[in-house]
Subunit: 457 residues, 2 copies
Amino acid sequence: MISTSLMDEFRSIVGNEWFLDTPEDLATYSYDGFLPEFRPDAVIVPGKTDEISKIMGVANRERVNIIPRGAGTNISGTSVARKGGVIMAFHRMNKILEIDPENMCAVVQPGVVNADLQKEVARYGLMYPPDPASMYVSTIGGNVALNAGGPRGVKYGATKDYLLGLKVVLPSGDLIKTGGKTFKNVSGYDLTRLMCGSEGTLGIFTEITVRLVPLPPAKATLQAIYSDLDDAAKTVSAIIGSGIVPTTLELIDRVVLDVIRDYGGAEFSRKAEALLLIEVDGEEVSVLTQGERIEKFCREKGAIEVQRATSPDEAEKLWQARRSAFGAVASVRPSCVVEDATVPVKRLPDIIRKILELSDKYRVQIGILAHAGDGNLHPIFMTDLRDKEEMARIDKAMEEMYEAAISMGGTLSGEHGIGIAKDRFMPMEFTGTAIELMRRIKRVFDPNNILNPGSFL
Amino acid sequence: MISTSLMDEFRSIVGNEWFLDTPEDLATYSYDGFLPEFRPDAVIVPGKTDEISKIMGVANRERVNIIPRGAGTNISGTSVARKGGVIMAFHRMNKILEIDPENMCAVVQPGVVNADLQKEVARYGLMYPPDPASMYVSTIGGNVALNAGGPRGVKYGATKDYLLGLKVVLPSGDLIKTGGKTFKNVSGYDLTRLMCGSEGTLGIFTEITVRLVPLPPAKATLQAIYSDLDDAAKTVSAIIGSGIVPTTLELIDRVVLDVIRDYGGAEFSRKAEALLLIEVDGEEVSVLTQGERIEKFCREKGAIEVQRATSPDEAEKLWQARRSAFGAVASVRPSCVVEDATVPVKRLPDIIRKILELSDKYRVQIGILAHAGDGNLHPIFMTDLRDKEEMARIDKAMEEMYEAAISMGGTLSGEHGIGIAKDRFMPMEFTGTAIELMRRIKRVFDPNNILNPGSFL
């Protein structure tokens, strides 16, 4: 608990209206996209870097936990006050400070919503590639903290690949600058990249410089339906082996397809065991030929139905199944746990088979969405949080799934982060020595362990 | 100095023939691509990871400095025994352990030469994009330690963009594994990226997993000559602003052109003030139209001569000027110092003008090669190391150049690293707080400061 006089000190930094501690406010900030709830002691909403420095100075002196939070869409529990403390929210710091088309970059405050940046840079013929499913809500600050990916990752990579520079307030209140507007920078240790994906545990980003790329002039979108999952996997291999780098290569399995159909999200054959949604972008001429080649691969590998969009409207329709997936799944049971196992791309069929096996073994309903092009799976456990017995079975299934993913050369998290969702699995992927190194790096930045101390370390 | 018994202990780990301490050996390993010489106490050449662990165990116990060294081509003095100690060389660990075309990656030992990897993966229709000028000699281990870039960086980025995972022996002798074969991985802090560009100060890479991309089926190469540097800069802006992402966009200034002509490296107009070498790659159809568009930009912006290669042989000819540049420059004076100032791309003409001004002011001969597409300059100071008075002027010119680059939002190093060449300039780019963080990170990995202790920290 934080004393009244300390509360007043925080209040005086940001002004009364930006220090929240009513029960309603605390309830609002007690959960994020992950499930467990932890009530914070207060919520503080700074308006500028200088205020953040002051807040951190006080917090560090008084050992008050500070938990930075963007839109709270993360599904790893990275933005909740697991060990109590004050949530720091960034919705006041939501300005695009600069779009610099000649240097192909933008400078933004942490609270800028990803889709707002996308929209603004598109006016200059530019694109900010990272496109997490949460992009219409989630913030660039949160995206950097989680190193967010998205469907376009196959071709374009993740947030780290577009992060050029940061201004960071350290737990001490000191401000540092890392990187800048240059695409290349090898001066000193790469603190910019170390911050990316650090889940709010090392510093608070107050200014973020991101790289932009030319908006591709053309796009082709295809949907292929398979009556056999292996045929879909063979198509993925054929496309990747052909030298085509698709922008997007999404897979939806039978469980999710059935749910989408029942939900009325989209219509497809009862025989559908898997759906591939494939997109390529680039110059018009090459997109056209790539689209034709991909269609041929789909048919050769046994797709029972292939559609190729010839207009943006048609493309939008093909995206409908994928877009409605989460809503549809959420309608089935009261809760859903979205996981993030990732394997080398050729092991995709193996890990999917393993998950189907676990679904049977533990009698849990698991649907699969996958960024198939980069081996990044999102198994969705449909459940009811209140059903302790079922949750225990899910926990076991999850543990076995991650053991399998790691044994296939994979990782605990492709793009969602570790947070409090998977901290217990860290020893599967890392030796004690590696984890201890991470703990010591944390201590370098945050000797008093006040920044998001409940997170993965 | 290292005691005889300690020498024997090292010798017993690798075998007599791989522990070198004759005066000839020590002389050979006393310098790298940078100029100053420091004689090491010995050279050790491990054959496997296990030996490296043992060597580090002994070195850590006895506080013996270990300086890892690839091919020694770096020009920042990152691989010399500035503070004495033992050079660790990797030419025995030069095996490509695996090329995995389905997962689009390769696993190599640190001593594999970049060009050898390129050649092998090309047999699978794949490419390893980082292409430092040293690629026919330099090793992947060294490339990772320096986060090497190269001409293809405009489109493809640098080493860090292709580094997926590492096995690392820490100064303690412990082995850790970071990353893996998956393209996405956000588990814990990004130790893989922290290692990349760490200049041999944090750990010793014993296995390196790199991402590969499809070898582009087609390429177009153009050369444009300008009688006015600004016209060349305008062409660069026009190309970048057009949405074309060139593979390569190299600029050569008048000083270097004159030297190349005199050297007999290539022939071009006496009026030539700047040369652009431009390459695009990708699918045949788009490469063709992009090549045409680029040719049009060059002519519109005032090029006095444009050549577009229509065959690989012709393309090779156009590369001749660029390829002969370093040899030509080296023939002018006994020594040359190749620098690495980098600015946001639109400031390129400003920094070039500044360098010309400094050349006058300090009466030093400076030629400029630039990766113009990413604002990465290589000013080449032609000099004689033995001429202390001239070297003092060069030092001043260099300092002013870096001050200018930083004030333009640039960095001390785009791709060559800091090493002992530019450690004194670090405070220009970083605050004391940031440098202190780096020092403390170093201590986390290497508490006894035995790994390349002479380097930038």
